[in-house]
Symmetry: C2
Subunit: 408 residues, 2 copies
């Protein structure tokens, strides 16, 4: 039986979740508790200290306590998080706005640290649960039953089609992960790619893969910051990197793009965003993505406007990212014991919460995934319709594309 | 031989067009002049007073002089205007920013006047050169050789598909023109529509058409302002109306949408926009669209953000609008004599310049056409992909659509 102080703290937490009914318990759930699926989802807090910590700073400490095993969820973790995310003015929205400025630097030096923190955990770790192509970004499910492998390949190809790549063109990629997109572009669309990334582990992996697949002469992987991109290109691509740029660098990001592709080029930005300006979860920024941010479209316009770039196409792939994260979580659970063995329980639980929370946030719409295509004012090779993106017969390669030339 | 004063004025004008080489002449072109297609395009000014007027206020007086027959273009009018539009910091961009605040009111009362000015010229006038469906907005050319009639029907259907209409749903349309979209929705998608418009001529026409086609029980045409929309609907649609709303009313426009469809609904905004905040041509606002404005996407976000609406899809149909205007101009030229007979030469030339200028502006990219789909945070019927928009077999009706339910 909890003491009166516990009851006060617990009712404070329940109020934060309002109108979502949650059940708070002190102690540890017994296996029997989790076998009764029809009760309210419950949050078990190990002791009064955990209860205090959650009341004091729920945005950070929900994640901290969960990671440390001092907070357990009885019932479906994703479902519970999803319902909390659906409360627009609820605990998550209110507490996420607490500032963690000291972690929010996106300078050249800080970016290296930020990226190292997440992407250099080890390639073996990501290989345990990513797809074979090692694509760590939203997949594209062309139909309900696509597998993760199919969906990631379909995403790579969708990006190439949206960019209307033609053989012999040059592409610069800012933030290339383990190189899957750059290699897909080179292999199936006959373009030459310079791909930038400041994660040492990823670049090493990508170079080795390019060499192994005989694409090293077509794709150059550079371990360098996007701010150091030099040279002229036909196309700019960036998948899952804008989240690491930081709003105060959007002006510079725009100038980098314009320096690279000028007024004749076209580009694609693929990024996690929000419906309006709202900080990314404080815990995610503390533990998972230091320096991360999820811009609303309005902010992204400040990258494009100064250079008179036209928005050509925006697609919201939120539901695809919810599925992608669900796949990742399922695979992660399958190798959970190995993860814990190698990286410890706290790390394992932290990552479980991050993947479950991301699934929930994309389902609930508190995160969005935007794929945005833009073109310079002198770009004269825009397809008239988006029909070619969806042609059943279109396979690998963009040769069957119809063009209209805006300028005569 | 022009006097020295003329030469100074002429060189001032040539400088405004820089770096576009234009030839300025005083007097009137002889028929022989316009038969030499390989010379520079020339602008003929009737006399020194015309020259003065153009130097004093090119943004307004280019159009005024052209309408009055005191400025003639030797060579291709669209081509000349297009090249002027392509100079980003040229005369058009610089002079367009002169403010005509007194015409820029979009209050309930002013909107009536603004809309009356343009849309109530007479239905017969628009019937002379619009398509059979009387669609006075950007068409959608599914392939290179589509006719205007095909393209307008394709556009109506594209809008319905983007909105994923299902039989029995309710739609509210803000700014319905002569009713083509509302009637298409009702006829082929089985929805009920309330369509608002403050143009008396258009509403009268639309009601008559609904009655004639036996759709009057499904489609209600209301001669009223969008601000007076009342009731609950599944879907909000607005094609070619946002340009008349005015930025200072975007907050109210957003509240009207939210009142109508809440958090479960979805909607489509189809509007002429710009890459960045820049006023619409001053002459166009003076003579053609009083109160008109062409927002950048960034401003449109201020309609959606307060209500947590997600941008689902944005398509830029700029090149389709260039084609549409070209079709309109060709048809207009075919009935030019009749137009002049009925409305006078100044009116005829004014409309020729407006249609040619619009063609040029869309070709040059100084105008964009955005079709934007958005959805509320509790909208649970979003198709997983955009594939259904492009299915060859999909015809009239949305029954073959695949759905995924975001919420379980």
């Amino acid at each position: 039986m909890p003491a009166w102080i516990d009851r006060i703290l617990m009712s404070a937490i329940e109020k934060m979740a309002d109108p979502i009914p949650i059940r708070l318990e002190l102690g540890a759930p017994s296996p029997a508790d989790s076998s009764t699926p029809f009760t309210l989802p419950a949050i078990w807090l190990k002791d009064r200290r955990a209860l205090f910590a959650l009341v004091r700073n729920p945005a950070i400490n929900f994640g901290e306590l969960y990671s440390q095993g001092r907070l357990e969820i009885e019932g479906d973790l994703i479902r519970l998080l999803e319902s909390l995310y659906r409360v627009p003015q609820g605990v998550i929205a209110r507490t996420a706005s607490r500032c963690y400025g000291w972690m929010q630097s996106n300078s050249l030096r800080s970016s290296r640290k930020n990226i190292h923190h997440h992407y250099d955990i080890s390639n073996e770790f990501y290989q345990m649960w990513l797809d074979a192509e090692m694509v760590y970004a939203c997949a594209y499910f062309p139909h309900e039953n696509a597998t993760l492998e199919e969906a990631q390949r379909a995403k790579l190809d969708l990006v190439c089609r949206k960019l209307s790549l033609r053989p012999g063109e040059t592409v610069v990629e800012a933030g290339c992960g383990w190189g899957a997109l750059a290699l897909h572009m080179a292999k199936y669309y006959g373009v030459r790619v310079k791909a930038f990334n400041i994660s040492h582990e990823q670049i090493t992996f990508a170079r080795e893969r390019a060499r192994r697949e005989g694409l090293a002469s077509q794709v150059e992987f550079l371990e360098d910051d996007y701010r150091n991109i030099a040279g002229s290109f036909d196309v700019f691509a960036s998948v899952g990197m804008l989240e690491h740029v930081g709003r105060s660098y959007y002006g510079e990001f725009g100038r980098v793009i314009h320096r690279a592709i000028g007024n004749r080029g076209r580009g694609l930005l693929h990024f996690i965003g929000k419906n309006r300006r709202q900080p990314l979860s404080a815990w995610i920024r503390k533990r998972i993505f230091p320096g991360g941010s999820t811009p609303p479209l309005r902010d992204v316009m400040t990258i494009l406007e100064p250079h008179d770039y036209s928005v050509v196409d925006v697609e919201n792939l939120r539901l695809h990212y919810a599925r992608t994260c669900e796949h990742w979580l399922n695979r992660f659970e399958q190798c959970y014991e190995r993860v814990v063995e190698r990286y410890g329980t706290v790390f394992g639980r932290m990552w479980r919460l991050y993947l479950a929370g991301s699934t929930a946030a994309f389902r609930a719409g508190s995160l969005q995934l935007f794929q945005l295509v833009f073109a310079g004012r002198a770009c004269n090779s825009l397809p008239l319709t988006r029909d070619h993106l969806y042609r059943r017969t279109a396979g690998q390669g963009g040769q069957d594309m119809e063009w209209i030339h805006a300028m005569s």
